[in-house]
Amino acid sequence: MEKIKLNRKWCKGCGLCIEICPKNVYDREAKVSTKGFKEIIVKNPDLCNQCQLCELLCPDLAITIEKTKKDAKVNK
């Protein structure tokens, strides 16, 4: 089960996740897609510390951070 789910259908490529992630988890594809921007990719999922910033701040509700057990309480 992957920790980070990126809903490409909803993402509009604003790039906030890339800028805001403290762990440099996200990046863009090299080529512009038919949606008119370079799609986002989860480049380094393993670096994620589950801070949830991206999930909470993604303006297109396109990111889910699945909590692994040990972190489950971090953001209660």
Partner: protein, 175 residues
């Protein structure tokens, strides 16, 4: 009277292209009109522009049955391809659109040209206008150039003109 329709998605500069085309016609001493229509969301949705060019007062400024369809996106192509006048032509960005086998259809990869040759994907619209000018009598290249110089923000004139040039050359090839 020529009726042109340009279609694409938001961000491809479809409306601007229509305006430059109509404005160019006016600079050529003709009458020109342009109507832009935005999709429901104005952001990424289907966008199209209807242009009429004429030597006299334009009655209905619509391109219900365009003489020329310029298609930059799949959605727009699919929606309008069968509305084209029976003697009309289609100019399509075959890099963006999977086309149907139709007569009088001119294909060029405008977006690719814009990205790779001009390093500016946003001028695909100008590439298409350049091609239009080469393929048809509808508008002269000079008029397009003048219209761009008058309308477009100085910083981007050069870029747009290059789009026209590339498109014009490509147009001559595929004509």
């Amino acid at each position: 009277m020529s009726k042109i329709k340009i279609t694409g998605f938001g961000g491809q500069g479809v409306i601007l292209a229509g305006e430059i085309l109509a404005n160019a016609a006016v600079m050529d001493g003709k009458e020109g009109s342009a109507i832009g229509s935005y999709g429901s969301a104005a952001r990424g949705g289907l966008t199209s522009s209807e242009i009429v060019i004429s030597n006299e007062f334009i009655d209905a400024p619509f391109s219900e049955k365009p003489d020329v369809l310029i298609a930059l996106s799949q959605d727009g192509y699919d929606k309008f391809v069968y509305t084209v006048n029976q003697n009309g032509i289609i100019i399509v960005d075959s890099g963006m659109v999977s086309i149907k086998p139709l007569p009088k259809q001119y294909e060029l990869q405008a977006a690719n040209i814009a990205t790779s040759e001009i390093k500016s994907p946003v001028v695909a619209n100008m590439v298409m206008l350049g091609a239009l000018s080469a393929i048809t009598e509808v508008i002269s290249k000079t008029a397009l150039i003048n219209a761009i110089k008058e309308t477009v923000n100085e910083k981007f004139v050069e870029l747009n003109l290059r789009g026209i040039e590339f498109g014009f050359e490509k147009g001559k090839q595929i004509k």
